[in-house]
């Protein structure tokens, strides 16, 4: 997976021209997961999306290790509470290589969730840059960030964040439904459902497809959320305290699933946690103290 990432990054930088973009290509991408196609799509996204998309040769990008899947440089972020400006991140430099399982640890309020939101483009940094496969993503327009989140990032949360109106199967399919229009979705519906069932089977939930989230336990909901995050075959899985709301037994089951994904499929995982014990399961641990990466 690591070598694939590099290759696709290069092709993305060189740019294959906007002509190759198309619905057909994206439909194929989801089933066959051809990294070449995905990368092409992404480069197109960047070219027509970002107003001031800096090339790979911009000064800050030069410092980005060439092998990084995701890299953050000098991230600052502060929140306003009334008149008082509360700084949360005070210059975070940080990168994830393809195929890595990285844990970000820190105490409550250290800004680790904020960092994850910034990396996942849910929020924008005040200053600083975020690069994904060598391309700057923090200044993409909203539509571009939406597509990025939908296709390349998978996210799981402490509180699962499943849609209560949908069944488990529909929840898993939600990113696919978001990506495709009605006709396109129904045209490939069988493949999508098949894949969703496979994923649910993998997380051990194949028997509860038609249940609504409120009928499930916390562990089951988190497994569903993992399946949902994986349905688009993302390049990066962002996990925000995935075990934070679960008992130890269930939490370690969830963690086992993540480790298995990492080991068997080479999935790049970035996990935020306050629990040192859980963080130790990762390849590498990044400590966040008072808005900065501790050495």
């Amino acid at each position: 997976m690591s070598s694939t990432g590099v290759r696709s990054q290069e092709s993305g930088v060189r740019g294959q021209g906007p002509g190759t973009r198309g619905r057909g290509a994206s439909a194929a991408a989801i089933t066959e997961a051809d990294p070449q196609v995905l990368s092409t799509e992404y480069s197109v996204l960047r070219i027509d999306g970002a107003k001031s998309a800096p090339s790979a040769t911009s000064h800050s990008a030069l410092r980005v290790p060439h092998s990084a899947l995701l890299a953050a440089r000098g991230l600052f972020k502060s929140y306003r509470k009334g008149r008082v400006e509360v700084p949360v991140l005070k210059g975070v430099d940080f990168s994830v290589r393809p195929g890595e399982f990285v844990a970000i640890v820190g105490q409550s309020g250290s800004g680790k969730s904020t960092l994850l939101h910034l990396l996942g483009t849910l929020d924008a940094p005040d200053t600083g840059e975020i690069h994904f496969e060598g391309n700057r993503i923090d200044n993409l327009p909203a539509r571009g960030r939406d597509v990025l989140r939908n296709k390349y990032f998978g996210m799981i949360f402490q509180f699962y964040h499943l849609l209560p109106e949908l069944t488990m199967l529909e929840n898993v399919l939600a990113p696919i439904m978001i990506r495709f229009g009605v006709w396109n979705y129904f045209w490939h519906r069988r493949e999508h459902v098949h894949r969703a069932k496979e994923l649910l089977d993998m997380v051990g939930l194949s028997h509860r497809l038609a249940h609504k989230p409120r009928e499930l336990s916390g562990g089951e909901m988190q497994r569903t959320a993992i399946a949902r995050a994986l349905i688009t075959q993302p390049k990066l899985l962002l996990a925000d305290e995935p075990t934070g709301n679960l008992d130890q037994q269930t939490g370690s089951e969830i963690l086992a699933i993540l480790k298995k994904l990492h080991r068997e499929q080479g999935l790049t995982i970035l996990m935020v946690t306050h629990d040192q014990a859980i963080a130790r399961q990762a390849d590498r641990t990044v400590r966040l103290v008072e808005g900065k990466v501790a050495a």
Binding site: R149, M155, L163, A174, R179
Partner: protein, 537 residues
Amino acid sequence: MYKLLLSWRYLRTRYIALASIISVTLGVGTLIVVNSVMAGFSHEMHIRLHGILSDIIFEGHSQDGMGNVEALIAEIRKVVGDELAGVTAAVHVPAMININYRGQMLPRQVNLIGVDEATYAEVSDFRQYLLHPENRQKIKFWLRESGYGDDDHAIPPSGWIYRRLKAGYEREQELQRRMLNNAGFGDRESGVGGTEGEDREGGAPVEPMPSENPHPSPLPEGEGTTVATVPVDPLSQLKPHSPDDVFNPEKDQYTGIILGIAMASVRQRDARGKVRDVYLCRPGDDVQVAFASVGTPLPKILSENFTVVDFYESKMSEYDSGFAFVPLKAMQISRGMGDAVTTIQLKLKPGADLNAIRDKLQARFPAEEFPFRIQTWRDMQGPLLAAVQMETTLLNILLFMIIAVAGFGILATFFMIVVEKTKDIGILKALGAPSRGVMSIFLSYGFSLGLVGSGVGMIGGLLFVTFINHIAKGVEWITGQEVFDPTVYYFSKIPTIVEPLTVASVVAGSVLIAVLASVLPALRAARLHPVEALRYE
């Protein structure tokens, strides 16, 4: 895809939103019912107004009328040309009718209209409103033997049958009274049933009569002269058939008169609350009519007896209580107006442009030179038609306001739903749903709510219109209160017309209101920041 799925799920699981569109449903239903009923009413009214008035009316300013009618009509034919379907001349005069009801004289103020039996039917639907079936075929001012009334009207026995019985009864009464008094009336009796009276009538200047129907002149000579010379209170003439009259009420009739049914009857409820028509007089009775002669040199009040030969019911209370029809010739002779008429009515071929022809006629007969007004029936009933139109418009505005209020209900409910769904919106955005997609979830939710609401309202409204008369009966039965009071309206059924265009625009308007009401909440949902939305508890 997710938009449809989610708005469908929201529709299925948020019953409070369904409750908020009940007012849309009610508004749409009411609008459809109101519009249908109003359209039905105004259609009926148009037919009836038009039916009596014909298309274009020449109205003389003077009661003396316009002379030289033949030449005038010939000129009108020339001006109007091919589009003319019929012309008739008539005399309109204000008059007072006295109806003798159980010994009391009931005065009625009317517009007495002398019509030409031959041509009047060509210009108006008048004869269709007559109660005797044969008169509907052809207007005649002769009393029929019997057979008055139809399904809507249970008229008590009328016609010659009734007239003979009544006359016989009155003669008996008279004889009895005379025997009791045994004096005073003796010499006056001799004339009853006398033949010389009939001879005298035969010479009366009225159109020829069927011989077996010995025919009444407008007035026996004796009475006519009395009136002419002594301009006294007409009530002094009220003895219906004075004994010295040679006129035999068992065989003879006076000049025929056709009364509006509202003039001759009173619609009221009996003790059990049933609507009943009480007839003050019926075909076969005589009424006494007072009207003015021509104005030169001096108008005089003429008082004549007429025999009611039929009623008409146009179901326009204005007409039914205000118009009485008599033969044109009789009017002209009684009033001494020669062949002058006060009104000329034109009927045009279907599809003719009323206003254009009116303008042509007005150009040919300018008001400065000719003593009459030329109007279309719409001009004459303009205020009434405008009033109905305005009523419809007002009701539409009011009811659309109700739907607009419902729109605000939807707005509030939707805001609540958006707030409730804040987290879901955050999730969708985290999964990559664009703001526009989130917005369209709520817009299509509003659209489908509007569609459901107004669809149900439309079906309900149309069903209501279809079964409106049954429903009225049902409500009557339950509450004991008459919904559609026949003492107020002369329609026996509620008339309705469903106009598909109206229904479509009502539905479209309400759906639009529902969508508009969901725009603000949808915008709010679209603008939610994903991180804040995810944190929302």
